[in-house]
């Protein structure tokens, strides 16, 4: 899922400084699961902003909504009937949600209430770690199900590098060396010979190099 983290409240307060009637919009997708932008976080942010504004003698009216998803038009449409009664929207969905909402409701300013960090997993309750960089050319079949692009700080395809020490990465001693993980996993699987296959120079054109990406499924388009 997409992992996000709440922005400092002072940053959000600065964004909405000149507004007195806003919507805080959460999303029931990924950001609900990573406790950054769901219904509960909407309520917490709303309470925090209200307290700050009342304390400063500039009370604010806040409407709290949480959409099924902010990355699909049909759910955004569910709030269209009242959106324009407000001066601004603080969206605590991921960056995609914030942008899609800004696209759909063009007449009012849209502010992000969270930072979108990465595609990752819930490693333990309250702990999320990155697993995928959406490079667009999955190589997990070659590397024991461990992504060298994401898990290796240098995104090496034929690692490890000389900075791997006792299973840790030179970038950060708490970080596992991605290639050590790959080696260990392939060893467990009895497939160490796979390491002898040289993975060719990466074609980054499927990644971010060509600008924002697009997928069209002709069988699904209307």
């Amino acid at each position: 899922m997409i992992i996000g983290k709440a922005k400092p409240i002072k940053d959000v307060l600065a964004m909405i400084e000149n507004h007195s009637k806003i919507i805080i919009a959460g999303c029931r997708g990924c950001v609900t699961v990573c406790s950054a932008g769901g219904e509960k976080e909407v309520e917490i942010l709303s309470a925090a902003l209200s307290l700050a504004r009342e304390k400063n003698g500039k009370p604010i009216e806040i409407k709290e909504v949480t959409l099924e998803r902010q990355c699909d038009s049909e759910y955004l449409e569910t709030i269209r009937s009242f959106v324009e009664e407000y001066e601004a929207i603080v969206s605590i969905a991921c960056g995609a949600g914030v942008q899609f909402m800004a696209e759909k409701f063009r007449r009012i300013p849209m502010y992000p209430g969270i930072d979108t960090n990465f595609i990752g997993v819930t490693e333990a309750q309250g702990v999320w770690t990155e697993r995928c960089q959406a490079c667009g050319d999955c190589k997990l079949h070659l590397t024991g199900g461990i992504c060298p692009i994401t898990r290796c700080a240098k995104s090496l395809l034929n690692g490890p590098c000389g900075g791997s020490s006792k299973g840790k990465c030179e970038v950060n001693p708490e970080l596992d060396c991605g290639w050590q993980l790959i080696y260990d996993r392939l060893k467990e699987l009895g497939k160490l010979d796979q390491l002898e296959i040289i993975i060719p120079i990466n074609d980054w054109s499927t990644s971010r190099d060509g600008g924002p990406r697009k997928i069209i499924r002709e069988d699904l388009t209307l």
Binding site: I9, K40, A47, A48, L51, E54, N56, G57
Partner: protein, 128 residues
């Protein structure tokens, strides 16, 4: 043991402090409480094992938010005490009340400004 504790304290019962949510704490301040404290069982004595430990973490998180919004995290505290220790309950109640009296009323009430004096007065007593 007919002990008395400050009358301005409003007790909100929960089955375990593990039920206390960050939102409950923030909403208490939104509704005008001058201070809030969570009274949990002694650490290690939670009937549900970790309810009071979770509550402490949530209190810490809410304190951070209160600091960020200018209400002041010091208005919120977590205490651990045994349900069988009445004198300690009274001691904490007095300690917290004194502390909050020194800090003064919830800043949102002071800033209400135009709000009627009478209305403000009513809320000033609320230490939840």
């Amino acid at each position: 043991m007919r002990l008395s504790y400050p009358t301005n304290i409003k007790i909100i019962q929960v089955p375990c402090t593990g039920k206390v949510d960050v939102l409950y704490l923030l909403k208490a301040f939104q509704r005008g409480a001058d201070g809030v404290y969570v009274a949990g069982c002694m650490e290690g004595d939670c009937h549900f094992l970790t309810g009071n430990l979770r509550a402490r973490k949530r209190v810490e998180y809410a304190k951070k938010i209160l600091d960020e919004v200018g209400i002041g995290g010091e208005r919120l505290e977590m205490y651990n005490m045994s349900a069988a220790d009445g004198p300690r309950f009274v001691e904490v109640a007095k300690e917290m009340t004194e502390k909050i009296k020194k800090l003064g009323p919830n800043p949102i009430k002071l800033c209400a400004g135009a709000a009627s004096e009478e209305n403000t007065q009513k809320k000033t007593d609320g230490v939840a």
